[in-house]
Amino acid sequence: MRTTIPIIVAFLSGLVLALAPFFREDNWFGGLKQELTEWLIIVGGFTLLLGVVSITRVNWTAVTRRKEGWGYKVLTLVAVFAMAIPSVLSPEWSTLFGRADGSIYDWLFVNLQSPMMATMFATLAFYIASAAYRAFRARSVEATILLITATLVMLWRVPMGEWILERLPGDIPYLLNTYIMGGANMAVQRGIIIGAALGAASMSLRIILGIERTYMGKG
């Protein structure tokens, strides 16, 4: 029963959503599709709640057992609740609640979360520079082709580099855009996109037909 019911739900839901584009939206079938879509969003909302419960349980256990790095886990818990609780409370009670300008959530987001995330991402520039210096070697013909192409594209994507390229013979920026980005790159990307789409379609079909059951924790 624990397997059969989820398979029936997946089959019926998948079937309705797969067939929906072939029916008009203003008839009963379109209404059923819309109903299912709304349910999907509601059920999905609960998975976010599940995420909060899970992160709390895992971190709280580590804190109570004084596991290595438990201090950081306290910080995680404080951060989760400091952001979550004021944001879900009604702004009618206080302007500090909710997510509008001047709320606790907004202050934490603008002054802490956003700069921290941007800093983490910006740190990549330092690692990329260091990694490029140490690892980007012309060890083989393929590596040399990749190195030359990457160098030219990097030059092309910034004004100073473009200025340099424009002083070289031939219209290199045009050639890069046409033959590298719009040629070789696009051909590869098309292959990846079509391959991934076929994979997704086949996986969806396997789930709808009940062949793929790993989402239920079964092999």
């Binding site: 939206e25 969003i41 998975t47 509008a100 987001f109 520079a129």
Partner: protein, 278 residues
């Protein structure tokens, strides 16, 4: 130890210092760099220009705060472009982590420049879980997916939303993304509902979308901060992306110089020769 060997084993902290200088100096000593316009950015500008004045459009904030430097200038410039054409703008986000807040902050600040009123000229729908369901559901009814805006006001109380039911009332979509949600806007909203759209994305993400531009599913593409700078120039309002071009130029040139130096050290310092000898 010879010069090339020393160079090959240079402490990475020197590299970090060089990157820091290359990033900071251009902001202290700004230079007016010539920025050429790529065909894809010109296509974005032309596509937005072709939207009839006063139309209702979507500007989608599908990026995380980590890529603000690249994506926010695109979103900001798109809003300026639409407001200049007196378009009604609906913003939304498929990113739970800050998407709705960024949409709220950016749209309100740009709207202030143009004296636009919330609820009449622009609305922020915020975020709902499950972007595939959200995109599909809005094809039938936007209100059934977003019963309220980001602040909790029912859509029925917002004058702008009284004229909007589903994608049939949306003339154009400007998607700003740093992730694969752009793929779904193409495959669900453009392919199934025929809404014209353009995309602004990070420099890392842009190569993937050339295929969609060639297929005319995206009517144009902005790639990274350079793409944003091109768009700022095209609408005649230079802002953060143009300012960032100096730092980005120097860092790119520095990385290229380091790659060349690293290879010289590798071959002349003996490591390359030793590897070849086995």
């Amino acid at each position: 130890m010879g010069f090339w060997q020393k160079l090959e084993q240079m402490d990475r902290r020197w590299i970090y210092l060089m990157v820091a200088i290359a990033v900071i100096v251009p902001f202290i000593v700004p230079a007016d760099l010539p920025i050429s316009i790529t065909p894809e950015a010109q296509m974005v500008f032309d596509a937005v220009e072709a939207v009839p004045d006063g139309s209702t459009v979507f500007v989608v904030f599908d990026y995380y705060p980590s890529t603000i430097a690249e994506c926010e200038p695109m979103a900001r410039t798109a809003l300026r472009h639409f407001f200049r054409k007196n378009c009604k703008v609906i913003t939304l986000s498929n990113i739970p982590l800050g998407g709705p807040s960024m949409a709220e902050a950016v749209s309100r600040s740009v709207a202030e420049e143009f004296g636009k009123e919330y609820g009449v000229d622009f609305v922020n729908l915020g975020y709902k879980y499950g972007y595939v369901a959200v995109m599909t559901g809005m094809g039938t009814s936007i209100e059934s997916i977003f019963p309220t805006d980001n602040s909790g006001t029912p859509l029925s109380e917002l004058p702008l939303m009284s004229k909007v039911t589903n994608y049939k009332d949306i003339s154009f979509i400007f998607e700003v993304a740093d992730n694969s949600t752009a793929d779904y806007w193409v495959s669900i909203v453009n392919a199934q509902y025929g809404v014209p759209m353009v995309c602004g994305t990070t420099a890392v993400g842009a190569p993937k979308y050339y295929a969609f531009v060639a297929a005319r599913q995206f009517l144009g593409l902005l790639g990274g901060m350079k793409g944003a700078a091109e768009y700022e120039i095209l609408i005649g309002h230079k802002d953060d992306a143009v300012k960032g071009m100096g730092a980005q130029s120097l860092v790119h040139l520095l990385i290229i110089a380091l790659v060349i130096l690293g290879n010289l050290g590798y071959f002349l310092g003996g490591t390359g020769r030793r590897e070849k000898l086995g």
